[in-house]
Subunit: 378 residues, 2 copies
């Protein structure tokens, strides 16, 4: 079962690896970036564009958002999120925990779970580990996440330890629930547990060992990319991937910039997600192989060259820098749409290229040569 | 020259006709609806979607908006609006007059032209008939409009007459300017004069006769669809098309609902434009062969059937009513995008089908049978 879920095709001299995750909605070639489809939509992007232009292999859904809107009644009625949004490739859902803590109008946590008020209408809700499992099964995710608490940064040692311990107890309840309840919609649904422990090496080690012992088909690293310095994120990721089983995919949650992505791949990470490519796109910032562009900048005003000559999607050749700048200056929707497609296509091109270099055996040299270019401001 | 510009292929028993307008950017099969691309973008729609999914044959640009943003410096630098926005089919521009009167922060009109303050930054500008011609030539429109004054509704007789007379004097200046200045960008640019005269039959007759005498390749009817009852609009349109030369295309500006479009075609109109399909789409209203749908309506909450089984574009089959309702309720951009593509594709399907019925000889029967259905609320 486990070996079938994830196959490593190439392991470079370091920790970076290329592999394939097999789900009932298709294969995912790793390392992979997963666009975030918060409320059953990757913002401003048609599903057709996700498939054909961006070449996404798996997308994320946010349990908290989907639970509140359109509600589980509607998603269940549709036969799950795949048919509801007409997306037939893999879907991963988060547990809802992160957004309950960051978005809800108010919340009260106990060992049992979290009571919270909806940020939309103030209605009262309760999510426990069991409830989170039930919701994610009803969404129909191919990969779903354990209900955890994500500590903020910075976080005191005692708080980080107690939170991690509760996350571990909650994980046991998640595993129990999933063992005792059937899957829905006839496709396999895989639970990933999450390593916590803030920036404390001993807690992270303890958590990574505990998580590894659960023998899930894949494992996640949470509680990073929450404001800590990049070096801290890399250090913790490296310590955790040293412990998590090699033969299973590792998902680093919420990461990150293009250079974060390459660095994380170098540390043995296989899956990543982040709202950055779409959120920044809507603000006029795009990432390219030549660096970061602010599309609102005056310098593009009369630059009629292609948006990104090294880009892989139709927007890169069909629209000029001057045109897309004009759209942003004029607050035209199409600007956000173009930049979102560009950024997601770029992120997918980035991980696809990283994969090719892992297979070719020169990943680290390549990463060190392109990372400084990716970071520069154009 | 004139016969080459417009060829009538079929004239039904009534005034409706099917024809072809030939421009240097391609042919336009009439009757035609022209999507409005206000500021060099048909809102929320990619150019690729306009061509391939909506099957637009010609789009509109708004001179007032384009002049202020991105400015003529940028559009000229790009080689005109066609390359600037990467649209290589025909473009029609309005004269800027309508928006100067309706949008500018303040304005002062004289025989010479109109001084106005930009609604964007309050900067001062002056547009005269000559300036409007120059701007539209610089935009590179295939068809461009005379600079006119569009009277509001209701409008007193004396005001309507004086305004019409000035519009006629301005037309002479437009014609003089275009005769004495070369075209730009190497393609043919055609001036259409505009009939005014508010809702007064004698003024409309006078204006239609004056406009006809100018012997332009095509003629427009302005000053309608500005708040008057539908019957008034049809009455005036009918009186004007009785006078405007049969062998030249007739453009009814700013019209309208699907049933307005069919009625106008029945009165001998060949070209129409309106922001309604895109503006209403962004508010969640779509037009279909079965009637008008408010996508935000609770009744679609659990309706997982295709958005519009009789629709011609990918959004109609790829997304469900419940999904698109969810997007509108959740204020997701994609909802506006889907509804805009749907509505424009529907409008193009509407005029394409009208054309087929004109060619088949049963246009009026068909129109009378479908119009009541188009109007009903679903």
């Amino acid at each position: 079962m486990n070996s079938k879920f994830f196959t490593i095709e190439s392991q470079s001299s370091g920790k970076a690896r290329a592999g394939t995750i097999q789900t009932d909605h298709g294969a995912i070639q790793t390392p992979i970036f997963m666009p975030v489809g918060t409320v059953a939509s990757v913002k401003t992007v048609h599903q057709r564009e996700l498939r054909e232009d961006i070449k996404a292999q798996i997308i994320l859904g946010n349990t908290y958002h989907l639970y509140l809107r359109p509600t589980m009644e509607v998603i269940s009625g549709a036969g799950g999120l795949h048919p509801f949004m007409n997306w037939d490739l893999p879907i991963l859902t988060d547990s809802g925990g992160y957004q309950v803590f960051s978005l809800s109008a108010s919340r009260k946590m106990s060992e049992e779970g979290v009571k919270f008020k909806s940020h939309i209408d103030g209605s009262l809700h309760f999510i426990s580990p069991e409830k989170s499992m039930e919701i994610q099964r009803d969404i129909g995710a191919d990969i779903f996440m354990a209900f955890d608490e994500c500590t903020p940064y910075p976080c005191g040692y005692t708080q980080a330890r107690e939170s991690m311990e509760m996350t571990h107890r909650w994980l046991k309840r998640c595993i129990d629930w999933t063992k005792n309840h059937p899957e829905r919609y006839g496709h396999k649904q895989h639970l990933f547990p999450i390593v916590q422990g803030s920036t404390y090496s001993d807690l992270r080690r303890q958590s990574a060992e505990f998580i590894s012992e659960q023998d899930a088909v894949g494992n996640a690293i949470g509680g990073l990319s929450v404001g800590e310095p990049e070096e801290e994120m890399y250090r913790i990721t490296n310590e955790v991937t040293d412990i998590l089983p090699k033969e299973k995919p590792r998902y680093l949650m919420g990461v990150g910039t293009p250079w974060n992505i390459l660095e994380s791949i170098g540390l043995g990470v296989d899956m990543m997600d982040c709202v950055m490519p779409t959120r920044n796109a809507r603000n006029g910032m795009i990432f390219t192989w030549n660096g970061v562009m602010n599309l609102k900048n005056e310098k593009w005003k009369n630059d009629f060259s292609a948006l990104d000559p090294s880009g892989t999607s139709f927007v890169d050749s069909e629209y000029s820098k001057a045109y897309v700048r004009h759209l942003f200056v004029s607050k035209e929707y199409l600007g956000k749409q173009i930049a979102s497609i560009h950024n997601l296509a770029f992120y997918l091109d980035l991980v696809r290229t990283a994969r090719a270099h892992i297979l070719a055996g020169d990943f680290y040299q390549w990463k060190d040569s392109v990372s400084p270019i990716l970071r520069q401001r154009l």
